[in-house]
Amino acid sequence: MSEGDRSFDVLVIGAGPAGLAAACRAAAARAIVCLVDDNPRPGGQIWRASLDRVPGPAVPWIATAARLGVRMIEGARVFAAPEPGRLALETGAGEPLDLRYRSLVLATGARERFVPFPGWTLPNAMGAGGLQSLVKSGFPVRGKKVVVAGSGPLLPAVARYLRHAGADVRLIAEQAPLAALARFARSLLHHPHKLAEAAIFGGSLAGVRYLTSSWPVSAQGDGRVQSVTLARGGKTFTESCDYLACGFGLVPNTELASLLGCRVSEGVAVDDYQRTTVEGVYAAGEITGIGGVDLALVEGEIAGHAAAGQTERASRLFQARDRQRHFARSLARSFTLREELKHLAPDDTLVCRCEDVSLGRVRAATGWREAKLQTRCGMGPCQSRVCGPAVEFLLGWKPDSVRPPLFPVSVNSLSQAGDSGS
């Protein structure tokens, strides 16, 4: 790639709904735009395409981006920010890639929150969205018994998808109480389009037990998960299963924003125009706080307009965004994680799966910094993306500072990024 091919007016990181919308709006204003994603295909997690290639909602956005000349780079991930206006990436083939920008839109999305309990590290016990994305790439679940547990509107969506793929979904265990779900359902009345979605879920889930105020307390199995014990109404019961799909809501992927120096609280802090606290850096979608696909889209549009200098067009979307934020707040209130989930893991349950560090060893430290030094908790390949939110939930510790590389990369890539590793 020549020098000119690597410099862009607007560089967008993340090709989910927010990133696609941002790239399309910026490109429509004649900006030279590049859209990067670490997955093999655009669409993000929520619009991840299935192997059967049923045209999904990502298709028209991807087509628009292509028509407007957006440069798409797939399978590449950012691991360092050597200087303002420059990012260091590694391609899927392990090659270094250097990209420059005038404006940067971060649309790095969210990941699942995992809550540790005995047996959660067994093979075939995985994330709810995790199992869904595997099945979208052909992972075989036909005839397999699956228990879906955790919290949030993702659970029925996953259960529905797994049933469609032929899985025998035994039950869904939602930790939130029925009253909270009823409130959530009422809030959907203000969003008829979401209500229709909910109704579809309900319809195709006929026959699957949907338990509220119910959560996993342990998973059992020899070399893989074979059963899960769930709490409900002050008692426990055990359900046999081939797969356990557990997700306790979503966590914004704020690592790159933190590395760039953007202020992060619950998510990346942004102003009306989706500007972060760092000059020239915008953020849109789930990384600014979990709010769902419709909020991600409108935030992405605003960020794309603004990053291309079209502030007037951006401001016309503020009202639409406010409506979606209202929904996001209702979502967060309804699926608040209950206190009991903080006491599922005894001291010998692993919290850090990369370095096999137990909760007891982490708890013995005074905070993140000491836990890292004493136990290597959070120091493995995932760089605390799994244990970080778990520890924050269990012990209330805020994440430690973020350092490059954001992901394990080759020595070659590191050296190409110059002084970024220091």
Binding site: D38, N39, P40, Q45, L51, D52, R53, G75, G92, R111, E112, F114, T121, L122, P123, N124, M126, G127, G129, G130, L131, Q132, S133, L134, S137, G138, F139, P140, G223, R224, N253, R353, C354, E355, D356, G380, P381, C382, R385, V386, P408
Partner: protein, 82 residues
């Protein structure tokens, strides 16, 4: 999308749809254990989106490849831990 790809997991031939990820081939070949943790515990995929690194295996001699982010190719040799 009728194409199929044949590869080998731990020496066992397995055929998956084109576009399938290596994680799919491993499960389709009947393996639940993808890797052993630093203390020897069996592990398999967790996040399904390339973040957790739990599904890493050896592909064509290259170690620590995330099987959920790597597409299957014809003749590929995949090795899990035992």
């Amino acid at each position: 999308m009728n194409d199929a790809v044949t590869l080998r997991v731990n020496g066992k031939p397995v055929t998956v749809p084109a576009g399938a990820m290596v994680s799919t081939a491993i499960a389709a070949a009947g393996f639940d254990l993808f890797r052993r943790s630093v203390t020897g515990q069996p592990r398999g995929p967790l996040c399904g989106m390339g973040i957790c690194f739990e599904c890493r295996v050896t592909v064509g001699g290259r170690q620590h490849v995330r099987s959920c982010q790597t597409a299957c190719a014809s003749g590929m040799e995949v090795q899990t831990d035992e």
